[in-house]
């Protein structure tokens, strides 16, 4: 759907705000300083050479590199009315180079049919007088493309399909135009929709909107909005282009476009009207291409030029050479393809890549650049054979063949010259190397079932959890180690617990060996370590006195105090009266275990 607004189409600002002028002046000053003595240039052009009576042509004057002493005046030609001039400025600074451009536009409306010569327009820049070239404008009485519907000037919207040539050739791309005429009382249109071009036997290109212009139909003024596209016939005969339906909502001034309405001086109150208009069906005669096509003709229709280059030209056999082919001109550039070149049979050729550089919006004019790689197969090759491209010229109704000369080559012996080449071996007879596809695969290989992607399989995600879990376990382990390192009490608790476990085992060994001295020395050390840890005191400072000094004030259980006291006393007594009996020592082990456990469980 295309949406149009006349406000941005045909209104031209005529006020020149102060600030814009000031900025322009500053820009001009900067340009003058930067560009130094660069000479100013003046160019003039008409947007078209021929107009119908009632239409306007636009004369553009482009002044580059300078500021005029005074704005140029519109040309004075009898019966050629010049409208209000427009002025636009452009200043650019690219890579340190500044440039300024001032463009003046003059709408010119012929009053009578005939040929008008527009005299040179003079502009003075820094004392230097510049003059535009003289130009010719032709006004014709009949407007060839305006709708000739009865009462057309009474309608709000008209639509017409313009197909220039009545006869075209198969494969010839031609521009066609869908013209939408909007009455001057139409302020705007919205929700514009048009059905697609529908014609059996034609393919159509992109549609682009052209610049709108004012035209006169009957006694009314219309704004013409043209839409351009291209059509290419794919079969011959009388082919019909079906009507195109255009639907839109018109915003029409309530006063019918009369600005002098005292109740609506600004045209604020508009009426909305949905309308559908259709083009007339058009029949186009498509001719078959004549007999006698050249050998390499592959369907190109248009008017083209050809250029070719190849490099490097000094290579070893088997080395690639890049061939660049440019086909420039007018025609269906997208559909152009390189013809097969049987003379290139000594080269392995790869399918070319191509790029179209169109110079018009429809893609009918421009250049198609092909690039292909050819590989000489042996060192006997002395040249890349001539390249020929044939096309049908619809204007001259004749086939043309463009030829590029052979490119001399120096091909040295190389390893690739003796290497087998499956692609060449499988090429069918008479096959065109540049357009041939790579051959089929001879071996099937391993077949696989159509399976979902790895990311869609549950087992894949399950596998991914393994490293994550490993990392998390190691993370927890390190966190615990850090917690231990930062808590001396906890660390001592663990050290003492380990010491006690080892000490009790040692006690049992001493008891079995009847080593009374070592037994009680170990016992004393165990009591010191456990109580030191509980009371947060150095182990070496723990003696029997700690029971009265520390445990009792802290209200340790009586059984704990008693048990510890008995053990301390037993340790002291053993220095003078060692215990010799194993049973007796093992009896102490149980009591020591109980006391140490009670001390461990006591919250100091």
């Amino acid at each position: 759907m295309r949406e149009l607004g006349l406000g941005h189409l045909n209104r031209r600002s005529c006020a020149a705000p102060f600030w814009r002028g000031l900025l322009l002046g500053l820009a001009m000053l900067a340009v003058g300083l930067a560009s130094g003595a660069r000479a100013a240039t003046l160019q003039a052009s008409l947007d078209r050479d021929t107009v119908s009576l009632g239409e306007s042509a636009v004369l553009s004057l482009v002044l580059e590199g300078g500021k005029p002493d005074a704005d140029p005046q519109p040309p004075t030609v009898r019966n050629l009315q010049a409208g209000y001039p427009g002025k636009s400025s452009q200043y650019s600074w690219v890579n340190g180079e500044s440039s300024s451009t001032i463009t003046y536009t003059f709408p010119l409306t012929p009053k009578q049919a005939g040929t008008y010569t527009i005299p040179p327009i003079k502009v003075t820049v820094d004392g230097q007088v510049l003059a535009s070239p003289a130009m010719t404008l032709t006004a014709v009485r009949a407007a060839p493309s305006t709708p000739d519907v009865a009462g057309a000037d009474q309608k709000m919207v008209l639509v017409k399909l313009v197909v220039p040539p009545a006869e075209i050739f198969l494969g010839q791309s031609v521009p066609i135009e869908l013209d939408l005429y909007l009455h001057s009382s139409v302020q705007n249109i919205v929700q514009y929709q048009s059905s697609a071009f529908n014609a059996d036997g034609f393919t159509f290109g992109n549609t682009v909107q052209g610049p709108q212009r004012q035209v006169r139909v009957g006694n009314a003024n219309f704004t013409l909005v043209p839409f351009y596209t291209t059509m290419t016939p794919v079969k011959t005969g009388e082919l019909r282009i079906e009507p195109i339906d255009c639907t839109m909502v018109l915003q029409i001034a309530a006063n019918g476009g009369r600005r002098q309405d005292m109740f609506d001086p600004f045209g604020m109150f508009s009426e909305q009207r949905r309308v559908t208009v259709s083009t007339e069906p058009v029949t186009v005669s498509v001719l078959a291409l004549p007999e006698g096509a050249p050998a390499g003709f592959n369907g190109a229709v248009g008017n083209y030029t050809l250029s070719m280059s190849a490099g490097p030209t000094n290579v070893a056999a088997g080395d690639p050479i890049t061939v660049k082919i440019q086909i420039a001109g007018h025609g269906n550039l997208d559909g152009l393809s390189l013809p097969p070149e049987p003379a290139w049979h000594d080269f392995k050729t790869y399918p070319p890549t191509s790029k179209v550089d169109a110079t018009d919006k429809l893609g009918l004019q421009g250049t198609k650049n092909f690039e292909l790689v050819v590989v000489p197969q042996d060192s006997e090759i002395k040249q890349l054979p001539p390249f020929a491209f044939s096309y049908f010229d619809p204007d001259q109704k004749a086939y043309r063949t463009l030829t590029q000369p052979a490119v001399p080559l120096v091909v040295r012996p190389g390893a690739a010259s003796v290497a087998p080449n499956l692609a060449l071996a499988n090429r069918p007879e008479g096959g065109a190397p540049a357009a041939e596809i790579a051959p089929i695969r001879l071996r099937l290989g391993t077949l696989h079932g159509l399976q979902p992607a790895l990311v869609e399989r549950p087992w894949f995600w399950a596998t991914q959890s393994v490293p994550v879990l490993a990392w998390m376990l190691l993370l927890v382990r390190r966190k615990r180690a850090d917690a231990l390192a930062n808590n001396p009490r906890l660390r001592r608790q663990r050290q003492v617990a380990a010491f006690v476990t080892a000490g009790l085992a040692e006690l049992r060994r001493h008891a079995a060996a009847k080593e009374s001295d070592q037994f009680f020395a170990t016992t004393f050390r165990l009591l010191q370590e456990r109580l030191g840890e509980r009371l947060n005191l150095p182990a070496s400072s723990i003696t029997e006195a700690v029971i009265d000094e520390q445990l009792r004030p802290r209200r340790a259980p009586e059984s704990l105090q008693t048990g510890l006291q008995e053990l301390f006393q037993a340790c002291n007594q053993a220095r003078y009266a060692p215990v010799k009996s194993t049973q007796e020592l093992e009896g102490y082990v149980t009591r020591i275990e109980t006391a140490l456990a009670a001390a461990r469980d006591w919250e100091a």
Binding site: A196, F197, P351, R441, R443, G449, L454
Partner: protein, 250 residues
């Protein structure tokens, strides 16, 4: 004389076709070789049918799709050829012969209405989705390995800092690219026209008016599905509905 030669050719093709059918039941490699034989003899339609029958078993690979594309190409069925080549491309995106044949088929179509993948899509398409996934997995495992080593030996933390950062960044980036490609594979489906011309209508109804028409081989982006209809968009951003029977959805 000419017609009798034609009849003998048909008989030969039928015999080889029967051979293909018998061989397919036993050995895919034998069926593939028989289809190749049909192709080399110039019976491209029969060869394409034989390759297609083999592919219909559900067990495929790039060589099978490649040969199927070649057979359709030789038949002048550009759409079917492009569809087969694109299926092969999904399995082997870096096959230069395949790419060349696909471009050649697209050139034969000669219509600029086909949707072209964006630069990012082309770059991502250099690897398959599974290859991107495995790359991401390797980077992720290496990254987690470095993280685990830093936990295991805190003394290594300083020396492994840059490696961890780099691998983490690479993992994140690869994961994003993989997800993009996966989303692309899920959402951005392409339909290839496989009939001489298909009419694209303004709605999913028989009565809907014609929006535009596209010829064989044009690749269209699928936007929506409704029963037997697909909503498609072409390179000119024209949108319409077409019947599913005239296209192959990749």
């Amino acid at each position: 004389m000419k017609s009798s030669r034609h009849i003998w050719g048909l008989v030969l093709a039928a015999l080889v076709g029967l051979g293909v059918h018998a061989a397919r039941a036993e050995d895919p490699a034998a069926a593939f070789a028989a289809a190749n034989q049909l192709y080399e003899q110039g019976h491209y339609t029969n060869a394409a049918a034989a390759y297609a029958q083999l592919a219909a078993t559900g067990r495929v690979n790039r060589n099978l799709y490649f040969n199927l594309g070649n057979a359709w190409f030789k038949c002048g069925q550009w759409g079917r050829a492009i569809a087969a080549y694109r299926r092969a491309e999904q399995l082997a995106p870096r096959d230069s012969d395949l790419e060349a044949n696909l471009q050649l088929a697209r050139k034969r179509v000669g219509n600029n209405a086909s949707v072209a993948p964006s630069r990012v899509q082309r770059w991502l398409g250099g690897l398959t989705l599974n290859e991107w996934t495995v790359l991401t997995m390797i980077a992720g495992w290496l990254w987690l390995g470095v993280l685990a080593a830093k936990q295991w030996r805190p003394a290594w933390r300083a020396s492994l800092r840059n490696a961890g950062f780099g691998l983490g960044l690479a993992t994140g980036l690869l994961a994003v690219l993989t997800l993009l490609l996966w989303r692309d594979a899920q959402m951005d489906r392409v339909a290839v026209v496989t009939v001489p011309e298909i009419k694209v209508q303004t709605g999913p109804l028989e009565e809907s008016t014609l929006a535009f028409s596209v010829p064989d081989g044009v690749e269209l982006r699928v936007l929506d599905r409704r029963e037997d209809w697909l909503q498609v968009q072409d390179a000119h951003r024209r949108i319409g509905w077409l019947k599913r029977e005239g296209v192959q959805v990749l």
